[in-house]
Symmetry: C2
Subunit: 165 residues, 2 copies
């Protein structure tokens, strides 16, 4: 039960090859570049793609909901949506029941785009994971999800310490 508790000592972490931060940054940036290279011909930037994908799953959500799903701050979401509106991929639709809220809706053009772009993620994922055993990939996804959960606690508002109480 006692957790293995496996911290590398600081000396080892001087070598960034061992750091979660370094490894995930390189992976994220490489992945992002590989994606954008393929989506740009369709007129979709990397930043736009991230939001479009979520809207394909659930259209008409509010900006705040979208922020939570995509994993960006709300100010960032505002910028991204401005960009999507400029490109004609989405429209802002004020809520009729709560004038604070604004729903984001895909345009017709954006909906048809899904069929073109979705295979691209699959392609880049396949490229990225080439030569890696299915079993190891499953472990990889599970660990990464756990890491994100661990760090999400840290990111929570510092005042929320009790939460329960």
């Amino acid at each position: 039960m006692a957790n293995p508790d496996p911290p590398l000592d600081p000396a080892q972490l001087a070598d960034p090859t061992n750091s979660i931060g370094y490894l995930t940054r390189i992976a994220f940036r490489s992945f992002s570049r590989a994606m954008e290279r393929r989506t740009l011909p369709f007129g979709v930037s990397a930043g736009q793609w991230r939001f479009l994908r979520h809207l394909w799953m659930e259209d008409g959500v509010t900006q705040r909901q979208l922020s939570h799903k995509v994993g960006t701050r709300e100010a960032t979401t505002v910028t991204a949506i401005n960009s999507l509106v400029r490109s004609g991929w989405v429209e802002r639709a004020p809520s009729r029941t709560d004038r604070r809220k604004i729903h984001i809706r895909l345009t017709g053009r954006a909906k048809t785009l899904q069929a073109d772009l979705l295979p691209i993620v699959a392609e880049v994922n396949a490229l990225a994971t080439r030569g890696i055993a299915v079993r190891d990939l499953a472990t990889f996804r599970r660990v990464l999800t756990q890491i994100n959960a661990n760090l999400a606690e840290e990111a929570a508002d510092p005042l929320v310490q009790g939460e329960d109480v």
Copy 2:
């Protein structure tokens, strides 16, 4: 021989929870935030930190070498070094044997900083990996390294195929 070849089908990748790009982006950003929260009191931003850590391992390298090590484009390195110079962490030193090259050297202040900042990576890494088995973490690092290698090929200049030696 025959690689398991485990691509998820496109439909599954519509859910970003399964996408390498999504998972690594969230991890990278969370990690970066957790780091910066701790280094900012020392006057070091997240971007500066990445370069300082490499310089602690190998001081006096050229800007191009530093770019390779840190994993950023050279234009990005220029910006980062400008920032480090402004903050008094490094100095530019033109090479005496090749006037194209510029070596980057840590200032005295920056060297003493190492003792303060290195434990911080260890702390954040420990936080991020809490509750994860050592064995799984090893798999995680191995897979992530492989993914980076796979994507690096994609990013390489299409002309550089041999590199031989």
